[in-house]
């Protein structure tokens, strides 16, 4: 029943849990005669219809929510970047990676072996930021988390693209695999956050 569970989980982010259960059950019942391809394509089309309906029902609220989410993301990333930087500097200073050479009145500082910590701390901060963002979205857009998340993702990408274009120096994003990696982390973290937020809301209700 793995596919029914997945379908129910996906649908529960577009409608109430009762409706998601019944719709997943309908798709399961029909898929016994029509096959898996029909099941997954129907799930995709049903989710798309429900997301579109949720968005058209409250376009201003969801756009405003997406805008606030982008601002929150920027603030969180800035705060976490500063924290990550401070931790990295502290870790570097306490390691043997830093070498101080003094000659006369000049002090030369060089980092030789920094290790993977700055990168790992950066990835972890990125994950934590988006996990929190998912929880934040789940609290404000119950049963229409997909619509809220997609609004955020589209607005986020548009604003970043506008930012890169507006920069006086041309920036070439020539690391597509890195972009895919970070988008994957972003999506995974936001959905884990949404799931956590949903569970907390259910417990409070």
């Amino acid at each position: 029943m793995f596919k029914a569970d997945v379908a129910e989980w996906i649908l529960s982010m577009t409608t109430t849990s009762e409706r998601a259960t019944a719709t997943a059950g309908d798709l399961m019942q029909e898929s016994s005669a029509r096959g898996n391809l029909w099941f997954w394509s129907s799930l995709l089309r049903t989710t798309a219809s429900l997301v579109w309906r949720a968005w058209t029902a409250e376009p201003f609220y969801l756009t405003g929510l997406a805008l606030r989410a982008v601002l929150l993301q920027m603030m969180l990333l800035a705060a976490l970047s500063i924290a990550a930087l401070l931790i990295s500097v502290a870790s570097l200073l306490s390691s043997q990676g830093w070498q101080f050479h003094s000659s006369g009145n000049m002090v030369e500082v060089s980092a030789t072996a920094t290790g993977p910590w700055p990168i790992l701390i950066g990835i972890f901060s990125f994950f934590v930021c988006h996990y929190y963002l998912g929880k934040w979205l789940a609290r404000r857009a119950a049963h229409r988390e997909w619509a809220a998340f997609l609004s955020f993702l589209i607005l986020d990408r548009v604003l970043w693209a506008a930012f890169w274009t507006a920069l006086p120096i041309p920036v070439v994003m020539d690391a597509p695999l890195l972009q895919v990696f970070f988008t994957g982390i972003e999506v995974m973290a936001v959905f884990l956050g949404i799931e956590r937020g949903k569970r907390l809301s259910r417990r409070l209700a």
Binding site: D5, A22, T23, G25, D26, L27, M28, R45, S49, R53
Partner: protein, 114 residues
């Protein structure tokens, strides 16, 4: 038409009529099958569920959850019934269609005036 009766789209009418035809056994799967067998066109699942949600929000249909069944992975059916205002709305809409049909001679369609 009275101002309190909501206007129905074509697909909304189709869905309401299918629920009426199915009586106590109207849930997602059977509604889709009924529409397909009567119209020859199978509605997309997404279109059906969004229409059912919309009709329920308008107060034209009511839904209740049934018992979980094994062939549905232990998931319940969501049964629909047409409410009094839904019945009124679909009757009004069909009356309008009848008036439009009166006096027309469509090929292969015999219209009997009641």
């Amino acid at each position: 038409m009275s101002s309190s009766t909501p206007l129905l789209g074509e697909f909304e009418q189709v869905v309401l009529l299918a629920i009426l035809r199915l009586d106590d056994d109207a849930y997602g799967v059977t509604i889709r099958r009924e529409i397909a067998s009567c119209t020859g066109r199978e509605p997309a699942p997404g279109a059906l569920y969004t229409t059912l949600d919309r009709l329920e929000e308008k107060g034209l249909v009511r839904s209740r959850m049934g018992e979980p069944t094994p062939e549905r992975g232990g998931r319940s059916k969501r049964y629909f019934t047409v409410s009094a205002s839904g019945l009124k709305a679909v009757t009004q809409a069909q009356r309008s269609y009848r008036r439009l049909l009166e006096g027309l001679d469509l090929p292969g369609l015999t219209y009997v005036q009641s």
